[in-house]
Symmetry: C2
Subunit: 351 residues, 2 copies
């Protein structure tokens, strides 16, 4: 029985989720002997893997298929493909609408190293998730669709492409450049009018006046978008990570407008925060059963803007801020949870 | 189109399977930029991962569950467990009957690094296999049972334990100490009488006069064996890798009798070859549909002792040798296959 230690680690993981506006805490990692301790790997100065270097063998073909599915998702498993059984995604985005540069770009939620870091505890399920489950998390939320069968050729292609992207990264490594990069979120509610102005100045030229994106061809042709829609019926649903403003602001600041990376932001923290609020204020597909997300309520992210709200703060604050007071409450709840774990009054966070 | 290169790689993979009596060829690896080239890792002087070092968090608990399933398979998913829905294994072996020392021992088919090396081309399916598919290969053959559902808690536990064992090993690495270690197989048929003498002198004390193993308790108690049965109804079936004499001889030479490792063999190559032949000459469970294994016939291992035999050599020779002439034929077939690939007359090996 090592419940005390557990609770500390679980708490750290919970805080990483809950306070990502404040600081990017490292993922909780189990202790291992020194010689086997997980390496630290940085994606920031590492060459990007390129599938063109792969031979035309079985591995290479499946990795390429995964790359194709990631970059042209709409054409293979989108809602407009001819074979109805293959309509897994519910919108015409591609994986790489968010996971930029073929899912290799640092701080654009890269897949590089995902083979090394999964299975991984996920607060959304309060359980360990495999790579496949994580892919399906996106399928059901960011892609507003349904889960890929675990034994489908598409899932195998995704897993193989992710494996290829992860080559060279030690299993269990801590990875710099993964996920998104922290920003200093202002201690105020997002200003939606200011956000609209940012949108009109910086985003609208590509994403359209009504956030509708720009089609390659016409609706129904399964050819997707040159620039993806940000709201409306054909985009990520309200259960997606990108629907959380603190994730969106981090992503936007370091990846938008097109061409921006973590070293060359264009928007200020305030502008990114406001435009994220504006985008997320718009209507989008609604995911059923969101109340089942984050079953361990004490580690529900403070910007998960759907009920139940267990900290007494109003829905509007969870959606638009101000967040520092919520982060403070989350820290208190996590500490309380850790305390009751110590006293044996609560179950550890994860099943 | 890089068919020529493919064929060369596929050929190398095929030969590694076909000629493992002769030399342990490295697995075919796709080319990658120098900076991302797969590392080489040796398990031989590396500390063995130990789950006792893991915290009691979600990851630690699931890795421990995987360890428990691996070491006491019979007690959780064996044919005698109370919950009939959990009777996935058809015999009362444990995974660690072969994968010694909690699947960490070099050259005893360790799981260390498996997260790094799968998905991997497998000749048996002539396709890329995921970790999960590889686990199920064992479930259906070595464990003479049925596949674990991909979304079962047991599969997740196995995958997590394998991930834990692989910590620190770069994805895509070449691993020294994986699988089994090559031996110099004599250029003759296995001598079953000599093998019986070896068995009686070296193996029988633990495995029993009739290879029946030694039970912990009594049949029906799901407590498995202290020493596993080697033939008869409660052991691996004829579709298992261990039913191939060239795999068995490598395993036996470097791991048997108990206490032996690759540095301290007790049996000579001749003794290991003969006793492997003797053990595999006995009756064991029969797997249906073995003719579907190795659908790319040109890379069927020369010691896969079930039809079809495509090289014209008799079944007895595929079971007991002599093998060097078969290895020579396999090389010719692989070269011919590579040639027809070049000329565009054949499909690449793998789907």
């Amino acid at each position: 029985m090592k419940r005390i230690r557990t609770s500390a680690l679980a708490t750290a993981a919970g805080l990483a989720l809950a306070s990502n506006a404040i600081a990017q805490a490292p993922a909780a990692t189990p202790s291992v002997p020194e010689a086997l301790a997980p390496a630290k790997v940085s994606l920031l100065e590492r060459p990007q893997p390129n599938i063109d270097t792969l031979a035309d063998d079985d591995y290479g073909r499946l990795a390429r298929r995964g790359h194709e599915l990631a970059t042209r998702t709409f054409a293979h498993i989108g809602p407009e493909v001819k074979d109805k059984t293959k309509r897994y995604a519910g919108n015409n985005l591609s994986c790489t609408s968010c996971h930029q540069e073929s899912a290799t770009k640092p701080f654009a939620i890269p897949w590089v190293g995902v083979t090394s870091t999964f299975p991984q505890y996920r607060g959304r399920e309060d359980a360990l998730s495999t790579v496949e489950e994580r892919v399906n998390g996106c399928m059901e939320r960011s892609m507003n669709g349904r889960a890929l069968p675990l034994d489908s050729p598409e899932m195998k292609a995704f897993v193989t492409y992710i494996h290829f992207l992860s080559r060279g990264i030690p299993v269990g490594a801590e990875i710099e450049g993964s996920a998104t990069k922290a920003v200093k979120v202002p201690n105020r509610r997002a200003d939606l009018a200011a956000g609209q102005a940012v949108f009109q100045a910086q985003c609208q030229v590509c994403h359209g006046e009504n956030g509708e994106g720009r089609r390659v061809g016409v609706a129904g042709d399964a050819q997707g978008y040159i620039f993806p829609p940000l709201w409306g019926p054909d985009t990520f649903n309200n259960g997606a990570g990108m629907n959380r403003i603190l994730t969106a602001v981090r992503f936007i600041k370091h990846n938008m407008p097109q061409g921006v990376n973590y070293q060359s932001p264009v928007l200020s923290d305030d502008e990114a925060f406001d435009v994220a609020g504006y985008i997320l204020s718009k209507a989008r597909p609604v995911k059923a059963n969101l109340e089942k997300d984050f079953p361990a309520r004490w580690n529900k992210p403070i910007d998960a803007a759907f009920p139940p709200y267990v900290d007494g703060a109003p829905a509007d604050q969870h959606k638009y801020g101000p967040f520092p007071p919520l982060a403070e409450k989350a820290r208190e709840m996590a500490a309380k949870h850790a305390e009751s774990l110590k006293e044996g009054k609560a179950q550890p966070a994860a099943r």
